[in-house]
């Protein structure tokens, strides 16, 4: 395999221009496999994953400094891993075992950097021209097409410092597409933009990506972006890939504590298995029943903010009493009336009410809680009409059994 890689490496410049078309015909060939280790100071990157074209856009989700960008830099070749292997189809980019390191200029990897890295001494046109390989005679026509496709025809003779954020991004995209990459790496493409610009630009980017036939890796720390753009997601935590799954699964059943946190779940408690469907939530100091069987390696439970209901203390929970809280995932009709058996209820005190734009959030502390920031506190999304809650009120927290996520 490594020897084949070496041979391909020499001819990679020739094969690059039509590589994307080649891959479209032969999609089983378009498999990216990464297994690399790299140390940088105290940080250790040790990441393994495989992805193929048929699974769509791969999002790489992780908090800042988790090694997402370093992984991309290793794939495009501007950083060199200490050990491991990177291959795209039959082409080996890097293999410490076979002593293969293909220079970034021969990889044909398109890498969109976070701040776009437009060449400040070149015009928009010059930047795009710099992305082109091969025969110079075709360039002029190709550039005009790209300028048109990315709506930067009027900016062709401007320098990067004269462009708006969106125009910079489109120029960088045009440049990266001009190089006809066989794989496209996008490193937080929206982080340099103002919030209000994003929506429009995301739609543009989405259209370009739909026309692109090659593997796309999309790095972000923003779960909403990942959800909108990606089909699969790789969750990276502290230099390691902890899960690889369809995006929908990340938000439905994240499995890992870190994935759940990145998926936006905010209510956690350490948990112990007590029975086939019974859990003791340590910080919440309560026994909970689950709808599905509890796995043996359970460590935490997580509950979405909008899956928690608040009931007045002393009231018996009932399906018709839905005005006091909001729980969109459970409709009163299919919920059995006896909460104490199928649902879960326990006491808590209101710490504060946090106003929000679309909905307020109540922050609760379960009784007997003496825990840290992340565990213990319970966040609840409140509907437009909810009980008049005040700090210090004692209430009952109700969680449906199928809203409890078992995490490890």
């Amino acid at each position: 395999m490594g020897k084949i890689g070496l041979k391909k490496q020499d001819s990679s410049e020739k094969m690059t221009p039509d590589h994307s078309a080649e891959q479209a015909e032969n999609s089983c060939d378009a498999r990216l496999s990464v297994d690399i280790q790299k140390s940088l100071g105290k940080f250790r990157l040790n990441i393994q994953f495989e992805h193929d074209l048929g699974r769509g856009i791969l999002g790489i989700l992780g908090s800042s400094g988790c090694g997402k960008s370093m992984t991309l830099r290793c794939i495009s070749g501007v950083d060199r891993p200490d050990s491991g292997r990177i291959a795209l189809g039959d082409t080996v980019f890097f293999s410490s075992e076979d002593k293969v390191f293909v220079r970034p200029r021969n990889r044909g990897v398109g890498h969109l950097f976070q701040d776009y890295a437009l060449f400040p001494n070149m015009t928009v046109r010059g930047n795009i021209l710099a992305g082109m390989r091969g025969d110079k005679r075709d360039h002029s026509r190709d550039i005009d097409q790209l300028l048109h496709a990315f709506y930067i025809g009027d900016q062709a003779h401007k320098y990067p410092r004269e462009l708006s954020g969106g125009q910079k991004q489109r120029t960088a995209l045009a440049r990266v597409f001009a190089s006809r990459p066989s794989i496209l790496l996008l490193d937080e493409p929206f982080s340099a933009l103002d919030e209000y610009l994003r929506y429009q630009l995301e739609q543009n980017l989405f259209e370009y990506l739909e026309q692109y036939r090659g593997i796309v890796l999309y790095v972000s720390h923003n779960r909403d972006e990942i959800r909108r753009f990606c089909d699969y997601v790789l969750v990276v935590e502290d230099g390691k890939a902890i899960s690889y799954m369809p995006v929908a699964d990340l938000f439905e059943s994240p499995w890992h504590f870190a994935s759940a946190r990145l998926a936006g779940i905010r209510n956690f408690s350490h948990a112990e298995k007590r029975g086939p469907r019974e859990i003791f939530a340590v910080e919440w100091n309560t026994l909970l029943t689950t709808a599905d069987a509890v796995p043996d390696d359970l460590q935490y439970i997580g509950v979405r903010e909008n899956a928690v209901r608040i009931l007045p203390r002393g009231s018996m929970p009932s399906p018709s009493g839905s005005e006091d809280g909001r729980a969109p995932v459970m409709s009163p009709g299919n919920r059995p009336p006896d909460w104490s058996e199928r649902g879960n209820a326990f006491g808590a005190a209101v710490l504060r009410i946090v106003p929000g734009i679309t909905a307020d959030t109540a922050v609760l502390i379960p009784f007997n809680d003496g825990s840290d920031e992340l565990f213990g506190k319970i966040f609840v999304t409140l509907g437009k009409t909810h009980l008049p809650l005040h700090a210090g009120d004692e209430v009952i927290v109700a969680i449906a059994d199928d809203d409890i996520m078992c995490l490890k």
Partner: protein, 235 residues
């Protein structure tokens, strides 16, 4: 008797030659040091050494290398080039002394470039030579320009190493700073004053130019090399 202007012309000739050599060598050395990882400190130390060594020591070392008994000197003599006691020798001495000024300015300018510019150029299939010519040098232009001006100024003022390697031959290797020294030796205060004022004037113009170029640069942002040169002539 009309004043002998040869020290001025020799100084300008020697400094121009030295600056041209240092311009290329300094950029190349800076490019080299920015790229390497191992041995960076040692190579950087070697390149900076001429700045801190006494010029007499430098001149002596150059004499050992280029003199009649040095290997390089003997080789050059066999092909008809004489370094010692010639204006070429004065240029060599000035270049060695001025080299660290150029090298350090350019290196600092290269290191301040956004590393993603170089990374992205590599992923776009560009070779290292292209990256240096089209990305690094144009975007590090202010540092390169100020380094060049400083190197020129340092060459103009060079005295110690030049005296040892090229001597102080009137009309042949006597530069401005040596003319001042000789005039003082011969108790010709008026001549010493005139040459001193000439050197002060040249140095001031050089410093003014440096500040002018650097100040304008911060206000006009980053421009291409051609635009920059055009602008500096226009103003």
């Amino acid at each position: 008797m009309p004043m002998d202007l040869s020290p001025l012309w020799i100084s300008l000739k020697v400094s121009a030659t030295a600056t041209a050599a240092v311009f290329l060598a300094g950029i190349f050395a800076a490019w080299l040091v920015v790229r390497i990882n191992r041995g960076k400190i040692i190579i950087d130390g070697l390149f900076t050494l001429p700045m801190v060594l006494p010029p007499t020591v430098l001149g002596f070392i150059l004499l050992l290398i280029f003199g009649r008994n040095g290997t390089v000197g003997r080789f050059l003599q066999s092909i008809g080039i004489n370094i010692v006691f010639s204006w070429v020798g004065a240029s060599v001495a000035a270049a060695v002394v001025a080299f660290p000024m150029m090298y350090r300015s350019v290196r600092a300018a290269f290191e301040q470039l956004d590393p993603d510019l170089i990374r992205v150029a590599r992923t776009l299939g560009k070779k290292e030579g292209w990256i240096m010519r089209r990305i690094m040098i144009p975007n590090a232009w202010p540092g390169i320009l100020s380094g060049t001006i400083l190197a020129f100024a340092r060459s103009m003022g060079e005295f110690g190493a030049t005296s040892l390697l090229a001597g102080n031959i009137p009309g042949k290797t006597r530069t401005l700073s040596q003319a001042v020294w000789s005039a003082v030796q011969m108790n010709d205060r008026a001549l010493a004053k005139r040459w001193s004022l000439t050197l002060i004037a040249i140095s001031f113009v050089v410093i003014y130019l440096t500040n002018h170029v650097l100040n304008r640069d911060s206000s006009s942002g980053r421009l291409s090399l051609g635009t920059r040169i055009k602008q500096s002539f226009r103003r």
